[in-house]
Symmetry: C2
Subunit: 244 residues, 2 copies
């Protein structure tokens, strides 16, 4: 189990140890950058060993000299893209405002790189930037009187929600890029049989599932805000309960 060549994690954490000059050859950083560019442009499926190598002017197999395999590339990509904005370093005294800022920043990152939610998970990603995100979120809760376990639970909850919301949003956006912008609402209206789905029928008739279709970006943010507000209300309830 002892690794001679530096494995992905070692690479990530030991980055400061050796970064003297930009040498001409191939290296993990270049591979990562090319992979991210490909994913940004064409989704995660566009990331293949062959395409990465082609973009860098090397052969497919040359990549394996610097990287264990595709899984490691995914890990490096996740870390590369997860730089934490500096304004989160000093969380405000109001935990709710702090978590909102944190969520917005996370959301911005997720929307800028929609492929993140498609990366197959193999255990929790323990990269420097990921830990920084977690640390900053925990820091916003410092004055709440919650136990550390509760803080961890809250952070996990919010992060999980944002991730999932982004996944849904990406899925919808993809579907909406075709001709089916409002087709979903229509389809739903047609299928929502009042007999089998009475509650759903009511909701559809009330327009609860009408897709805005006009203001794309802004509304997307509101969608996500409804859920987040509910979650933060729930956290507030826990906090005031602990304070009593």
């Amino acid at each position: 189990m002892d690794a001679k060549a530096p494995t992905g994690l070692d690479l990530l954490w030991g980055r400061d140890a050796a970064a003297p000059a930009a040498r001409p050859g191939l290296n993990a950083a270049r591979i990562t950058q090319a992979a991210v560019e490909l994913a940004d442009a064409g989704g995660l499926d566009a990331v293949s060993m062959a395409r990465i190598a082609e973009r860098l002017g090397f052969t497919t197999m040359s990549l394996y000299r610097h990287v264990q395999g595709k899984e490691e590339i995914f890990l490096l990509m996740l870390d590369a893209v997860a730089a934490v904005p500096a304004e989160l370093d000093e969380p405000p005294s109001d935990w709710r405002l702090g978590l909102q800022r944190w969520s917005l920043a996370q959301w911005t990152m997720l929307r800028a790189h929609a492929w993140i939610v498609d990366v197959p998970i193999s255990g929790p990603p323990v990269t420097p930037n990921q830990l920084t995100w977690t640390d900053r979120a925990l820091a916003t809760l410092r004055d709440t009187g919650l136990t550390e376990s509760e803080k961890a639970g809250v952070v996990l909850l919010v992060a999980t929600y944002l991730h999932s919301s982004a996944r849904l949003s990406a899925g919808l956006g993809e579907a909406a890029s075709g001709e089916s912008v409002a087709a979903y609402s229509t389809l739903l209206g047609r299928l929502a049989d009042a007999e089998r789905f009475p509650a759903l029928r009511r909701a559809v008739d009330a327009g609860a599932y009408d897709y805005p279709a006009d203001a794309a970006e802004e509304d997307r943010r509101l969608d996500h805000s409804f859920g987040l507000d509910r979650i933060l209300d729930g956290v507030a309830a826990l906090i005031s309960q602990r304070a009593s």
Copy 2:
């Protein structure tokens, strides 16, 4: 755009129209069942056209006579597995209890078929069973005084959370099946530098990230309960606000 052969959705929704006798040949139902069995046993990656066909005693290409392609198989699989338990038909008068029951049922389904969370999404799945789930969840909120849009938002929030939580749980479970049961905690403890991650350091020291490792199943349910309880508290806040 007019389909001569029945496409996936038509198949799903027209199922009652023609289901007279179990004929000897291949059909979509058999394909779906085989695919689900494969996925249950070996994860979604184990589902390949070749393996499905082999299990049924046909050739790979024969599948395409009954199914458009793999994407449609995924859709059929999702629907096949998503039967809604009858006890959700009549939601209790207490919305919170109702949503908890609903969540438990959904959670049971997700844990029984861990591959569900790996299915790539291409638009929201509009299958009969999926709509039934949504309908039952909406029904639990009938006496809350929320608007239909708010109900839809709440349902989406809870469903999204469960899905994401299952995804995380599946990822952890997979990692834990190796030798790395407690390796995550250890790794985290080693990497959580007090300088760079002060808040995280505190949490780790307090044991907030210790993985139980003993009671696997039961604790998994508690993990998920913390987040759900927070969410339901948030929903309760919204409901009492609307009632005032």
